[in-house]
């Protein structure tokens, strides 16, 4: 067992992927050991300590949405400090992608990464002379860590998967020493003059300047990763140790497609991509398109279901939201649509040629984008000509009351009929689903699968083994899930066992004992009544006989045992299920071992998994 194993790509990439779950120290330690076991077949017997960036007051103070986990791993005489920096997660991260790496206006996540590594060293009292400081990253995480690594030499090694690099313009503003070197090299006096330096020259100088850095930065990138390819187009600086991997052999050429974008369109596309990215993170590809187009396509579901008239009458809020969205966004929508429409032949022909979409989908997209551009232009003209949108009795009210002029009727027709129909046809073509594959190429799972060897592959964050021993089609077994059943399944059965005991106790307390308690109360009351009847004169109805007094009471008590008030049969069945459950888990293990008779590692994995 050695700490060197941790930097093998399948271990660290899976750790980074797992880190997105924001685990506590125990969960993280268990996950680390599980991944280590699954990938090496060995039990990790060292110690893991964890520190999350959200626990750092200084990081909170920066308020950057940076998210990272630092952990030390100790075994025998070895001890290293590792830092995982998350990639883009929420809307604020995507906004940061635009404002930071692409627009070079913000550096607070890189600042937070720099602060966090210092904080982590202090927190663990880690002496860099006695061990290595290693950084693992996905996407935006590499951007933050590499800037920190190069400017501060805070790490010995930095690893990235589909890692975003940085632009020369950005690191000039982040690294004062580099800025001074640039000023000297290109003879500039003020930072604004940097724009005058040709990008290729600045990029070359940046690479040369940092080539002597002590830190080793390695980036493993999918050939189909859209973020990396776009960043290349924007002149970001690649690292020397960049390994390109074809993670999706069924498609190709995304790079060529992006390279063919005219430089003049880069900025426009950057804004469009930023809007898409924010939406994509919020709700997937369709939401991305919503953001890019400025209209909420999902609102049109109701329209699709009930038709124009009923949509207008029954869902006025959705109609208003759509219209208000257009009121605010129409000029931008039109501009974005025109940008895509003008290039639609080239874009969709390429996407077809490279295998992302079918010929039918290509034809639909080109045709419908032309139609959409035409209708939006008409809509824009109609709105400009007819409507004072800020008037209290504006066009929403006019349309609602049906008193609009013919121009307004045209607006309504375009909104309620023509545009939804165009969007319907785009949706029905399935193009959007086909394009989901592009985003998938930014994921860690696709990379792990591309790098996997032998009978191994990955589903989500889990390791999968494939067996050919069945004689028919290969059988895929999720080994991570099988080990979870083998370990957590037993825990789950034990929890169930406890719950059944608690149920048994509850039934006894609430029914059986409660009945005995009630019986005791009744017997006690009988004794009271019989021994002191005069005390119960009113309750016993003495007032009915004014000249008489109660002299004695004899209760002819009949108290039967409690009947038909138990869960004995069900509880017995539950207990039986737990008992056989342990066998079921063992049988499942045997069945999987049978599928992988040749692979002794499978038995070892089961044996060792319970020692984590």
């Amino acid at each position: 067992m050695s700490l060197d194993q941790i930097t093998s790509s399948n271990i660290w990439m899976r750790l980074v992927d797992a880190e997105y779950e924001n685990m506590d120290e125990q969960e993280f330690s268990d996950r680390f050991k599980t991944i280590y076991l699954e990938e090496t077949g060995e039990l990790f017997e060292g110690e893991i300590k964890m520190y999350h960036s959200s626990d750092s007051e200084k990081i909170k103070g920066i308020n950057s949405s940076y998210d990272g986990t630092a952990f030390t791993v100790s075994y025998s005489e070895e001890k290293n400090l590792y830092l995982i920096s998350q990639g883009t997660q929420g809307g604020s991260d995507w906004l940061y992608n635009v404002e930071g790496p692409f627009a070079n206006e913000k550096f607070d996540q890189a600042e937070a990464a720099r602060t966090f590594v210092i904080e982590a060293k202090d927190h663990f009292d880690f002496n860099p002379d006695e061990g290595e400081v290693i950084s693992f990253n996905h996407s935006l995480g590499l951007h933050n860590s590499s800037m920190t690594g190069l400017s501060e030499e805070a790490f010995d090694e930095v690893y990235g998967v589909n890692g975003l690099t940085f632009s020369p313009y950005e690191i000039i503003s982040f690294d004062a020493k580099f800025y001074n070197a640039v000023r000297k090299e290109f003879d500039i006096k003020r930072i604004e003059e940097i724009d005058k330096i040709p990008l290729a020259d600045l990029k070359g100088f940046t690479k040369d300047y940092y080539s002597d850095a002590q830190v080793t930065i390695s980036n493993t990138v999918s050939e189909d990763d859209p973020l990396y390819l776009i960043s290349e187009k924007f002149g970001f600086v690649p690292f020397d140790n960049t390994t390109m991997v074809d993670t999706n052999p069924e498609v190709s050429g995304l790079k060529e497609l992006i390279d063919n974008i005219p430089d003049s369109k880069v900025n426009d596309l950057r804004n469009l991509a930023a809007a898409f990215s924010r939406g994509n993170q919020k709700g997937g590809f369709n939401q991305g398109l919503n953001e890019a187009l400025g209209v909420n396509i999902t609102n049109l579901k109701s329209y699709n279901a009930v038709g124009v008239g009923a949509w207008y009458i029954n869902y006025p809020d959705e109609v208003d939201e759509t219209m208000e969205g257009l009121q605010d966004n129409l000029p931008v929508v039109l501009e974005n649509i025109r940008l895509i429409e003008e290039n639609s032949e080239e874009i969709f022909n390429s996407l077809y040629e490279y295998g992302y979409i079918s010929k039918e989908q290509k034809d639909v997209m080109i045709k419908e984008l032309t139609n959409l551009e035409k209708e939006l232009t008409r809509l824009n003209d109609a709105v400009d000509f007819n409507v004072d949108m800020h008037n209290e009795d504006g066009w929403f009210d006019k349309i609602r009351r049906g008193i609009g002029d013919t121009g307004l009727a045209a607006v309504a027709a375009i909104l309620y009929y023509k545009i939804p129909n165009i969007l319907d046809r785009i949706k029905e073509s399935g193009t959007l689903e086909s394009l989901e594959g592009i985003v998938e190429s930014h994921s860690i799972t696709e990379m792990l699968n591309a790098l996997a060897e032998g009978n191994r592959s990955y589903v989500g964050k889990d390791l999968v083994f494939t067996s050919d021993t069945g004689g028919g089609d290969p059988i895929k077994v999720n080994m991570s899930a099988a080990l979870r059943l083998y370990t957590q399944g037993v825990t789950s059965l034990e929890v169930k066992q406890t719950l059944i005991t608690e149920l048994e106790t509850l039934v006894r307390d609430e029914i059986e004992f409660a009945y005995k308690d009630q019986r005791w109360k009744v017997m006690h009351e009988i004794y009271n009544v019989e021994s002191s009847p005069s005390s119960y004169a009113y309750e016993l109805g003495q007032y009915r006989f004014p000249s008489y007094k109660i002299s004695s009471v004899n209760v002819l008590h009949e108290i039967l045992p409690l009947e038909q008030a138990d869960l004995d049969e069900e509880i017995a069945d539950m207990k039986h299920s737990v008992d056989t459950g342990f066998n079921y888990i063992e049988n499942y293990r045997k069945a999987i071992e049978d599928l992988f008779k040749e692979d002794e590692e499978v038995s070892t994995l089961f044996d060792l998994s319970r020692r984590i």
Binding site: G489, S492, K549
Partner: protein
């Protein structure tokens, strides 16, 4: 005659509402049901894809499905039975609290004889 006896039912203790016991018991069975879901979620993720076939696979699927469905049935039966057992309990407690008694009355004047 200075005394006489009557026989009638007397309420020894007022009735109580025990319906809250249903929720107490049901809640525990629901915890068991939730734990079963945790267990079968672990089991159901093992075979990748729904359409895998083969002797071993079919057996695993079959055993898992049967177990899962039997556990669901047991929990369902328990949940269905709880209102009945609480009602039976309440009825039997109510019956116990009302008993037949022989009450003997004596004329007040005769008490001073």
């Amino acid at each position: 005659m200075s005394e006489f006896s009557i026989q009638e039912s007397i309420v020894l203790i007022p009735e109580e509402d025990f319906s809250y016991k249903k929720a107490v018991l049901k809640s525990k069975v629901e915890d068991i049901l939730d734990e079963d879901q945790v267990f079968y979620k672990l089991a159901n993720n093992i075979l990748v894809g729904e359409d895998q076939k083969g002797k071993v696979i079919d057996t695993m699927k079959d055993v898992t499905n049967k177990r899962s469905s039997r556990d669901t049935g047991i929990n369902g039966r328990a949940l269905e039975k709880i209102p009945t057992i609480v009602r039976n309990f309440s009825d039997q407690v109510a019956n116990m609290k009302t008993q037949k008694a022989t009450i003997t009355f004596k004329e007040i004047a005769s008490l001073y004889d």
